[in-house]
């Protein structure tokens, strides 16, 4: 893929968010969800965004995905502005977000149905094999455990082979053991496919384990406060989570979040995008 190289031969970042701001119109006046947020993610990089709940993480991710518009600022993918849903972007949502009236196979076929192309069965089969979901095609979401549902959601997001994967607190609802397992799986898949991944979480240890870089956000309004490089070699095992270096780094990030003036009051709205954002897109 030559997407990361400009005609002049220099490399450029895969994904650029440039001075992004977002206000929601609410009954109690405008809500400032995202303030002048900038970041750039390299091709094949694993980037995590961490921050307290209500800091605009999901707003940021939905903007990157083209699910709703920014009040100001731009999102650029491969040098092209992202103004709506983009075929090179796959999304994994909170709590799997499978359609309960479809079985697993039909859930995974959804992107193809919408795009009006035949499903890439060979690729899907390979992915199902990879995440250990072969033979569950006829099962409905309610018959699967939370971890299995999230694996299916990952297969669905990768089924049409996007180059960017956006993951919105995908494992927040899972128990700690399943979460560790899923994190290992995500790292393995990333090492194999080298997708560009933007992963949102409020779990600092998860962010440190997974990413090349951690973007730390503060709330009210949501903004970038600091970027951390995560130097640990790949593949990482869960054992590194008990090392002194990781411990210190997690604490450093935690301190960065906690010592912001707004951090203590950071619960509440702002994280979940309000209805009108998507509705505009969906109806327009």
């Amino acid at each position: 893929m030559d997407a990361g190289v400009t005609p002049t031969g220099e490399t450029r970042p895969k994904l650029v968010v440039d001075r992004a701001s977002k206000y929601y119109d609410t009954k109690s006046g405008p809500l400032h969800a995202l303030d002048n947020y900038s970041m750039s993610v390299e091709d094949g990089e694993f980037a995590c965004v961490v921050g307290p709940s209500g800091c605009g993480k999901t707003t940021l991710l939905w903007s990157v995905a083209g699910l709703h518009s920014l009040t100001s600022g731009t999102v650029t993918l491969d040098g092209q502005p992202v103004t709506g849903p983009h075929p090179q972007i796959g999304m994994v949502f909170q709590e799997a977000n499978l359609l309960p009236w479809r079985n697993l196979t039909k859930n995974i076929h959804l992107p193809f149905e919408i795009k009006g192309i035949p499903p890439d069965e060979a690729h899907i089969e390979k992915l199902l094999n990879r995440v250990g979901l072969v033979g569950f095609g006829n099962k409905f979401p309610r018959e699967l455990s939370g971890g299995m549902q999230q694996r299916a959601a990952i297969v669905r997001a990768l089924s049409f082979n996007p180059s960017v994967l956006l993951m919105d607190e995908p494992f927040g609802a899972l128990d700690a053991f399943t979460r560790d397992e899923m994190n290992l799986l995500v790292e393995e898949i990333w090492l194999e496919t080298r997708k560009t991944i933007v992963f949102i979480t409020h779990n600092i240890a998860e962010a440190v384990f997974l990413s090349d870089r951690v973007f730390v956000m503060a709330a009210r309004p949501g903004r970038l406060v600091k970027t951390f490089d995560i130097p640990f070699p790949r593949p990482r095992s869960l054992d590194i989570m008990t090392t002194r270096e990781v411990f210190d780094l997690v604490n450093e990030i935690k301190a960065e979040i906690e010592h912001r003036p707004d951090a203590s009051a950071a619960a509440g709205s702002g994280e979940t995008p309000q209805q009108e954002g998507v509705m505009e897109q969906a109806n327009g």
Binding site: M91, N97, L110, M279, Q281
Partner: protein, 285 residues
């Protein structure tokens, strides 16, 4: 002492999935719910025994107390009449079915389309809501004399009455279904580039399906009530007409035979929608 409610249930917290009758969906409106599961021989024996006691006991009591037939005929007389007079009643059943099916087809399809359209325009919905409410709460039977005045004693006034009775019921329930919006699911479809129409077809319609089926069932039952009621008001055919005729001529076994046919029809409607609900909206329960 173990709590009867908790019994042997697997403990669940948080996920507030109602176990039985609280959630919407056809499959749990019902006394039937249990009958979808396998019954033990014991249960079947008990059900049959109770039925025999009710029918047999009724027969015995009515004969023993010498209740006159015009007050309440014994079950045997009703069943005899059902067999003997069915040939005569059958065409009337046919008329009622024609009215019900055509009126319902019109009412239900208009109701569904209106529900789908108005829920897309919240402002329009607010404006027409009072009229819908009026249509739902006004007994359409009250309009039948007027309809007969305008359209005569044929099928037409009855079909209109059935459509007017079933349409709003379908619409109000379907609209409730279409208003159930799961933002995350819409965002999911949208992230694959779905158009408004695709979101409607692949997300909104399936999400609304349990409520649509409930609406279709209630609409069908209301349609049956209205068809029979309209036949009782005027016109020389249909099961409702039979009821007025038989009661005027004190032919009670025949009267109750018609009642039996009507309740069977109602049960059939219910069972049909129960099965449809299980197939198309089973994911919700």
């Amino acid at each position: 002492m173990v709590d009867r409610e908790l019994g042997d249930r697997i403990p669940t917290f948080g996920d507030a999935k109602p176990t039985d009758d609280q959630s919407i969906g056809v499959t749990n409106l019902s006394a039937f719910k249990g009958s979808s599961e396998k019954k033990s021989a014991q249960e079947i024996a008990a059900i049959v025994a109770v039925a025999v006691i009710i029918v047999g006991g009724g027969e015995f009591l009515l004969r023993f107390l010498q209740v006159p037939q015009f007050v309440m005929p014994p079950p045997s007389a009703i069943l005899t009449s059902l067999v003997v007079d069915f040939g005569f009643i059958a065409p009337h059943l046919g008329h009622t079915l024609v009215e019900l099916l055509s009126g319902y087809a019109i009412g239900a399809s208009v109701g569904l389309v209106l529900a789908a359209v108005i829920t897309q325009f919240p402002f329009a919905e607010k404006i027409i809501a009072p009229y819908i409410l009026m249509l739902v709460t006004t007994p359409m039977l009250a309009l039948v004399p007027l309809l007969i005045l305008n359209f005569g004693f044929g099928y037409t006034p009855r079909i209109i009455a059935v459509a007017l009775a079933s349409g709003p019921m379908v619409m109000i329930n379907a609209a409730t279904g279409f208003r159930r919006v799961d933002l995350a699911k819409i965002a999911l479809a949208r992230s694959f580039g779905a158009s408004t129409l695709q979101i409607f077809m692949k997300i909104r319609v399936p999400m609304a399906m349990p409520m649509i089926i409930v609406g279709l069932m209630i609409g069908a039952i209301f349609g049956l009530l209205t068809a029979v009621g309209a036949e009782m008001v005027g016109g020389g055919f249909g099961l409702g007409n039979r009821l007025t005729t038989y009661s005027a001529t004190i032919q009670m076994p025949q009267f109750f035979a018609v009642i039996l046919i009507l309740s069977t029809l109602g049960i059939l409607i219910y069972v049909a929608f129960f099965l449809i609900g299980k197939k198309w909206a089973g994911w919700e329960s």
